[in-house]
């Protein structure tokens, strides 16, 4: 799992970066001071388990936090994004953060422990997430472009297609998740698996 921190006021020695490096290993912490660079990295690494910590304000020639989150959601509805900013609700419009499913908002005036707790919670959710488990399984397929499934409405899907359906939380993607939940319940009730 990688933690992507997009913030133009931090450097590698910032206490939060050091703390995250201790918890998750330095190589798994990616700091971007330019939001466009952070966004590019996310787009190229969607196959990894990612958690994003995102500041709101960036220089005028960079995308701001609102735009970065909106752009991320065009590619993946599931990546946990924690908004981490000195701004508060009275000075900014937070509606689009809610609509684009930001996971948490943490004010930068809070103790570092708060943001660390939120990252841990995001990690916990990722580990329990059915969609993430399905995505990981699909990524292990040898040929991800080969048609592997035909749906009832006569659409063909490769592993890459299904990954996209999951990420974008389409009807098909949600149906795959639903099937896994039904399967899990059935296996438990039939005594094939235990909690």
């Amino acid at each position: 799992m990688e933690i992507i921190v997009i913030d133009d006021n931090l450097d590698e020695d910032a206490p939060i970066i050091v703390e995250l490096g201790i918890l998750y290993d330095d190589q798994n912490i990616k700091l971007f001071s330019r939001s466009n660079d952070g966004l590019d990295y996310i787009k190229k690494n969607l196959y990894k388990k990612l958690i994003v910590i995102l500041d709101i304000n960036f220089p005028a020639d960079e995308k701001n936090g609102h735009e970065v989150l909106e752009e991320i959601r065009k590619y993946d509805k599931l990546i946990p994004v924690i908004i981490w900013s000195a701004m508060d609700g009275s000075t900014d419009n937070f509606t689009d953060f809610i609509n684009n499913h930001a996971l948490f908002y943490v004010n930068q005036t809070e103790e570092y422990a708060v943001i660390i707790d939120k990252v841990k919670e995001a990690e916990h959710r990722l580990n329990l997430d059915v969609a993430t488990a399905i995505e990981n399984w699909l990524y292990k397929q040898d040929n991800k472009d080969k048609t592997i499934m035909i749906s009832g409405d006569n659409e063909s899907y490769s592993a890459n297609d299904l990954i996209n359906e999951i990420r974008m939380q389409t009807e098909k993607g949600r149906k795959l998740e639903e099937n896994i939940l039904k399967l899990t319940i059935s296996l438990l009730f039939r005594g094939k698996e235990k909690i």
Binding site: W137, I148, M149, I150, K175, L176, N179, L183, L187, K192
Partner: protein, 205 residues
């Protein structure tokens, strides 16, 4: 007992045509185990409503088993264009449906079509949801799709055949889920989609 089977399938679909053909071939193999059942095949371009309604069904003057391997929705059965049904709720064959049985793997036909057969004193075995087919596991999907038919041919009632079909799905799910969760999930969905209507306590074959 039903001694006449009419088997419908459309193999010219570039995605699932081969699957429907293989399902029909498997059904034929099962039917051949009981040599008292006459078999008629309606396939490919003959899978159209006017031909079936006005030419094929009127030939059958006894209660029949209609086996249908095709696309489907709540109201009927389709070729690959999925626009004009070749069989739908308006199907009417007083002799072949009265006391007869429709057995199908077509998606969602249990929702409306299956229920509509009750008004013609016919029974139904099929699915009430959309079903996915995983191509590398085609044999398993075919075996599960046709296990209810196999049990009916062994003399099971419709109700018992449904339970046995679910048991077959469970057996395959248990073999698969540790290595392929998504395929097992698709089988679970299909298993839970099986519905029967009509004379559920009857043995038909």
């Amino acid at each position: 007992m039903i001694q006449n089977a009419i088997l419908f399938f459309y193999k010219n679909d570039d995605k699932l045509g081969n699957y429907f053909l293989n399902c029909a071939s498997h059904a034929k193999y099962l039917l051949n185990m009981k040599d008292t059942i006459k078999q008629t095949y309606v396939k490919n371009e003959n899978c159209n409503f006017p031909y079936i309604d006005q030419v094929e069904l009127p030939k059958h003057n006894e209660k029949s088993l209609l086996l249908i391997y095709s696309h489907g929705d709540a109201n009927g059965f389709y070729k690959d264009d999925c626009t004009t049904p070749f069989i739908d709720k308006t199907i009417n064959c007083e002799t072949c449906l009265n006391g007869g049985l429709v057995y199908t793997n077509a998606c969602s036909t249990g929702i409306e079509f299956g229920k509509s057969l009750l008004s013609q004193n016919a029974s139904y075995f099929g699915y009430e949801q959309d079903i996915d087919v995983w191509l590398d596991y085609e044999k398993i999907f075919i075996e599960c799709d046709n296990w209810g038919l196999y049990r009916l041919l062994q003399g099971d009632t419709l109700e018992k055949a449904k339970e046995e079909a679910k048991e077959k799905f469970n057996q395959k799910i248990d073999e698969l889920y540790a290595k392929n969760l998504l395929v097992a999930g698709a089988l679970e969905n299909a298993k839970e989609s099986i519905v029967i209507y009509g004379e559920v306590s009857n043995s038909f074959l």
